[in-house]
Symmetry: C2
Subunit: 327 residues, 2 copies
């Protein structure tokens, strides 16, 4: 007998351990009831993952549950917000208990880790689509925005970029790297680690911030457009994982993937030069390396140079996004 | 050339007239930034409409835009919340400008009317799915809940019920009523009027409340289950529109549709008997008739009797929902 919506909610989504003080009423009425802490602003983001578009048909349910929340927490991180609660709209072709158990496990694992509580949702029948809206808090006036970068400031990126894009290449064609490196790249694609701890820590350090979801160059271009500045990047300073270095050493055609590949969910931000050491220390404390990759310019263009001072051709392509209005 | 996500947002969703004071940052960054008014609690609901499941393939885009917001505002109404802001996750098979213009028109019309602002969204490619999460405010401690109904209290319902279910019958088979009655029923299905003004007005009058989305009996059963009470309904008191009366006079097989049909988005609530006249007056003031349809009982069952005192068989069927855990 197929599970009813009530059964699905009761079995897979209403048995969470986390009970936040600000959540006065969660799942179980017409709507949830939240008391936002005094003096805090609410930061709200919504993102959808569609099967066959954002993930392949055979993606592990647990990875989908994790990633659907992760991409939203990444948006909160970019605003410097502390994760608080979320709602889930889950559209499923049929009520597959094994799938639901996996999805709910992946979702809960990240939710518990980030301290964010599921407060409501809607389960409908249809093509597999997962929409999450997440909310977080930031003290009034302290949110990090895309605007705020000033010429002369340094440009930073967290962790490493290009891993998710390389993982997609591996899925699509044979890439000659070790199984351990493959696994490491696939993990970055399937279970990205949203940088919400870093986001909160950057509130008083960064002058602007964005998360790297569309690709480093594209997202930095969004940030520059909103700040009305340009950027000059040093390709050699762009942080790569050891797996990505291995892959690029063997397949030089992937050299520029770390600049253009999306789905990394790192933070790209700007800060005055005098914050340099403080930021390096912060990266060590959070076990999340921070790399200074360039400088903000008054000239309204985005350039990336390699060690020979050559402007990388693809950097100009990424520049097409420049000037767009962003979501 | 197909529209990009940026173009879609800029052309169809970023040109709203409404600018609320509590919305500090809307569309255009990684997330929206809201300052909830002091002393207010946040009420949050999420609902998805899927093409072919919640509306037929050929449904007018404007009606979809309206209804996707209406069903969410109805949940806020049931909590006594004042609508404030919403996010939209729109999954579209392709970027059809005519469709987008219609959808955006229907959405904006209701949003402006209800004073609720679109603060963020996500536009993705895939099977047509519309998810809206809406938030409203209610003074701390004043939210209407499903629990709170007490034996002896009166049961009320707003407007009329059964119209949307009759409209579905009309779509599926020939029903012998006038074109004007048909149109009136179809309008109820396509453009339901969420009762948010009534919801706010009921804060100090009603003891419990739910919106009628699954059907009067089913939703009243949810309310009774949460309040740990039963209900005795008078079928003759259940309010029908004149179009519904006409349809049922001709097709007596639809007699019980008003009890079981969903999608009406009226409010069903309970109140002490001494509030009776005040509630009738409120209905006149809001031009939204309120009908007293029965009484809450200590006995944990839900009965509906017709004028002969006969218990309607289908009332027992609706009773199956009784005791379920609700969303």
């Amino acid at each position: 007998m197929p599970l009813s919506e009530f059964d699905i909610i009761e079995r897979y989504f209403n048995r969470q351990t986390l009970q936040r003080d600000d959540v006065k009423l969660g799942i179980g009425d017409d709507a949830a009831l939240i008391t936002p802490p005094a003096g805090q602003q609410l930061v709200v983001a919504i993102d959808t993952l569609v099967e066959g578009v954002h993930f392949p048909l055979d993606t592990d349910a647990e990875a989908i549950g994790w990633k659907a929340l992760a991409v939203n927490l990444s948006d909160l991180a970019a605003m410097g917000a502390e994760p608080a609660w979320f709602t889930l709209a889950l559209t499923l072709p049929h009520s597959d208990e094994e799938w639901l158990a996996g999805f709910s496990r992946g979702l809960s694992e990240l939710a518990d880790k980030a301290g964010v509580q599921l407060v409501g949702g809607d389960t409908t029948r249809g093509p597999l689509t997962v929409t999450i809206q997440v909310a977080g808090y930031v003290p009034a006036g302290e949110a990090l925005l895309r605007r705020g970068a000033k010429p002369g400031e340094e440009i930073w990126v967290s962790g490493s970029v290009g891993d998710a894009a390389l993982a997609l290449q591996i899925q699509q064609q044979s890439v000659d790297i070790t199984p351990a490196d493959k696994q490491s790249l696939m993990h970055r694609l399937d279970q990205p680690e949203p940088r919400y701890r870093l986001g909160v820590a950057l509130r008083h350090l960064a002058s602007s911030c964005i998360d790297v979801s569309d690709g480093l160059i594209a997202d930095l271009a969004h940030l520059c457009a909103m700040s009305r500045v340009g950027a000059s990047l040093d390709y050699e300073a762009v942080p790569l994982s050891s797996a990505a270095r291995q892959a690029i050493a063997i397949h030089s055609e992937y050299r520029e993937l770390p600049l253009y590949g999306g789905d990394d969910y790192e933070l790209c931000f700007t800060a005055p030069g005098e914050r340099h050491e403080e930021l390096e220390l912060l990266g060590q404390q959070l076990e999340c390396p921070l790399s200074c990759i360039g400088v903000i310019t008054a000239e309204l263009q985005l350039q990336c140079r390699d060690r020979n001072g050559e402007i990388l051709a693809l950097a100009k392509q990424g520049y097409q996004h420049f000037g767009d209005t962003n979501t």
